[in-house]
């Protein structure tokens, strides 16, 4: 890439200054969908969960599926970006920020679902351990409480991880802007001057955060899997669930990242920044995760089949040949049989269209996987007298669609406020330096181009 720093500034800051009618039209459509979902939620709170498709025995379904799914998507960003930063992979530079943003937004959406699914959502704060005159504390043995802490830790961590390397870019916008923009970005850049001391501190903070966020990310999805694994329910009570969920989360996360990057590339005209090499590299990661996913599913199914416990087998057969088998085999197609060959062939993988074609089925397949973990197990739990089934109601469907719209809307707004590619990191990664970049004195003081 042979761009001058000034061209980079111009290309990457353009979306912040200019919006087309398409932006407003898309935002309006997405906002309408989000409003519909909010209406559905209020409706559900008013009448009770009876208006959903939930029943006895299927007490958890779409909402918890969405919860686990969005937590999984959230592993796209911070974890990938942290690993790439720790490994100092140079190609990461244009990718990290849009990845980290996915984490923050999908985690916020995921965090809503445990509230949406509560019977009495207005009392959710009873999960917070606060001293009260009644002396009642939450039950620390409950995996739901672990969830509460894990998600909050991850959310705080990933917001920090997103904001830290944004300050130099905010300062860049502040320095180039006038009027209200100068004021606003002046405030949110938190007094960034680009002094050597500030660069040094930023570099230190990013190194610490990159290492610290990895165990947090792994633990979050492990704890989400324990929501299931800790209950003596056939198909849930499995020691493999922690790593299985983490692998699945990274898998769906990378797929979501590839789709988001392809969209940004088209919509914001970033063809010269998000190049086929980025999709190719992420495609390799995706291939590894696809194989790993297949290995986990195979290992889990095979041990269940050999164990042959009656309680487990009714769930097992319902997904292999029974009522849920169409969904199961769709999932296998979406997660393995379609993407693995595409990603394994180099001449396909380095074409962006093909990588996206491999990623979209994975997102669908991973949603199905979460559904297939939850609903068949509850439908065929132990006593045949109580077997049941589940069909979603319009409320659950609208809320599900609404959260996808919310993700798009938040991302759209984000791309108007933040430069979607970290400008200073991109400049640092540029091969030649005959022309000093705009933040040159400070960058030079920060030492070799490996900050972050």
């Amino acid at each position: 890439m042979n761009k001058t720093p000034e061209q980079i500034n111009k290309d990457l800051l353009r979306p912040i200054y200019h919006a087309t009618w398409r932006f407003y039209a898309t935002a309006a459509v997405l906002a309408a969908l989000v409003a519909a979902a909010l209406f559905a939620w209020v409706y559900q709170m008013y009448y009770g969960l009876g208006i959903s498709g939930l029943n006895r025995p299927v007490f958890w379904a779409f909402y918890i599926t969405n919860f686990v799914f969005w937590i999984g998507i959230s592993h796209a960003g911070t974890l990938i970006s942290a690993i790439l930063r720790v490994c100092n992979a140079g190609w990461r530079r244009p990718v990290t920020r849009c990845a980290e943003a996915i984490t923050v937004f999908s985690l916020s959406i995921a965090g809503l679902f445990p509230l949406i699914h509560l019977g009495r959502p207005w009392l959710f704060f009873w999960l917070i351990p606060y001293p009260s005159e009644r002396g009642i504390w939450p039950q620390f043995r409950s995996p739901l409480l672990w969830d509460f802490f894990a998600i909050n830790t991850y959310l705080i961590g990933s917001v920090t991880f997103l904001l830290l390397p944004s300050f130099p870019d905010f300062a860049l916008i502040r320095d180039r802007a006038s009027g209200w923009r100068r004021k606003v970005y002046g405030i949110i850049s938190l007094g960034w001057r680009g002094t050597p001391k500030q660069w040094h501190r930023l570099e230190m903070a990013m190194r610490i955060m990159a290492v610290a966020i990895i165990p947090v990310a792994v633990s979050v999805h492990t704890i989400v899997s324990w929501d299931f694994a800790m209950a003596p329910v056939p198909g849930w009570h499995s020691t493999i669930f922690g790593p299985y969920f983490v692998a699945g989360a990274i898998f769906s996360g990378i797929a979501a990242l590839i789709v988001a990057m392809a969209l940004l590339r088209k919509l914001l005209h970033l063809e010269e920044y998000l190049r086929p090499i980025h999709f190719d590299n992420l495609g390799k990661l995706l291939l590894v995760m696809s194989l790993l996913w297949f290995y986990f599913v195979f290992a889990e199914r095979l041990t269940t089949w050999y164990g042959n416990f009656p309680g487990e087998m009714s769930v097992f057969w319902s997904t292999q040949i029974g009522r849920f088998s169409p969904l199961f085999w769709t999932m296998v197609f979406c997660n393995f049989l379609i993407p693995a060959p595409i990603l394994a062939i180099k001449s396909l993988r380095n074409k962006i269209g093909w990588t996206v074609a491999a990623s979209i089925p994975i997102i669908i397949g991973m949603w199905l996987e979460r559904f297939l973990i939850i609903v068949p197990s509850l439908s065929y739990k132990y006593l045949p007298y109580n077997f049941g089934t589940y069909w979603p109601s319009w409320v659950e469907i609208i809320i599900t669609i609404g959260t996808f719209a919310a993700m798009g809307l938040l991302y759209l707004i984000f791309s108007r406020i933040f430069p979607i590619i970290s400008i200073w990191e991109l400049k640092l990664g540029m091969p030649k330096k005959e022309e000093a970049p705009e933040l040159a004195p400070a960058e030079a003081a920060a030492g070799q181009p490996q900050a972050g």
């Binding site: 009448y47 009770g48 969960l49 009876g50 939930l54 029943n55 006895r56 025995p57 299927v58 007490f59 958890w60 445990p114 699914h117 509560l118 019977g119 009495r120 959502p121 009392l123 959710f124 009873w126 999960l127 009642i136 504390w137 939450p138 039950q139 043995r141 409950s142 995996p143 739901l144 409480l145 509460f148 929501d227 800790m230 209950a231 003596p232 329910v233 509850l378 739990k381 132990y382 006593l383 045949p384 007298y385 109580n386 049941g388």
Partner: protein, 235 residues
């Protein structure tokens, strides 16, 4: 020594009449959700009679098994509740604090016996059942779990009465509604800590089994399985 309430259910005696179900509804103010909701699997029956059919027509035999909360000593429903709504009280009952429940429904998923019920809507009753509420039992609102309590209101009333009269509780002095109403005497209730109580003696029967024993929940309800004399008689 405190009490440890338990029950013995004799499958030889159960006729499947469901008087226990009706009595439980009346005693505990359980909502009758209506046909539509019941067909969606939202019916609330703290005790139910499960029917299992054995053999092929016409040599068919039906087996009745009344199922209520098994009052597990190691209950899967208890540790999963994030707000302590579900906990074990000091007499070994799996208690449910309605006011503390926020409706995660995690307990219902964890329970292998499917004896926990969720209020999908605010409760309604077929008329004139709404005119005969039991004043000793609180009504449950939308969004919370409810379950069999072994008629804790009767337990407490009997304990308070015995204490006031400065005497120990007698075996069989009081019974939960289901036990009281069982015409065949298939349900026997009592204190498992009292070695001479009927329930203690019967629970040691060679016919005694606990439900889904392999899960290690240690229920305090013991089922006396059908004896083989049935088969001999039918042969």
């Amino acid at each position: 020594m405190g009490h440890r309430w338990g029950m013995v259910i004799d499958e030889d005696r159960c006729t499947g009449c469901e008087a226990c179900v009706a009595a439980c509804h009346a005693e505990n103010n359980i909502a009758t959700v209506g046909d539509d909701e019941a067909s969606r699997g939202r019916a609330l029956h703290w005790i139910r009679v499960e029917r299992y059919y054995e053999g092929d027509f016409p040599d068919i035999r039906v087996k009745y098994r009344p199922v209520l909360c098994q009052q597990c000593s190691d209950a899967p429903c208890e540790p999963v509740c994030p707000t302590y709504a579900s906990y074990q009280n000091d007499e070994g009952l799996n208690a449910q604090v309605y006011n503390r429940c926020i409706g995660t429904r995690y307990c219902a998923n964890a329970c292998p016996y499917m004896v926990r019920f969720f209020n999908f809507y605010n409760p309604v009753w077929d008329k004139p059942l709404d005119l005969q509420f039991n004043p000793d039992v609180s009504l449950r609102s939308v969004g919370i779990m409810e379950k069999c309590t072994f008629c804790i209101q009767r337990i407490k009333a009997a304990e308070i009465k015995a204490k006031a009269e400065k005497r120990p509780l007698k075996d069989g002095e009081f019974n939960p509604a289901c036990v009281q109403s069982c015409p065949a005497g298939a349900l026997i209730f009592g204190d498992l800590n009292d070695p001479d109580s009927r329930v203690s003696r019967l629970s040691k029967s060679s016919r005694g089994t606990t439900f889904l024993e392999e899960l290690g929940t240690h229920p305090k309800v013991v089922y006396l399985k059908r004896d083989t004399w049935h088969d001999e008689q039918n042969a």
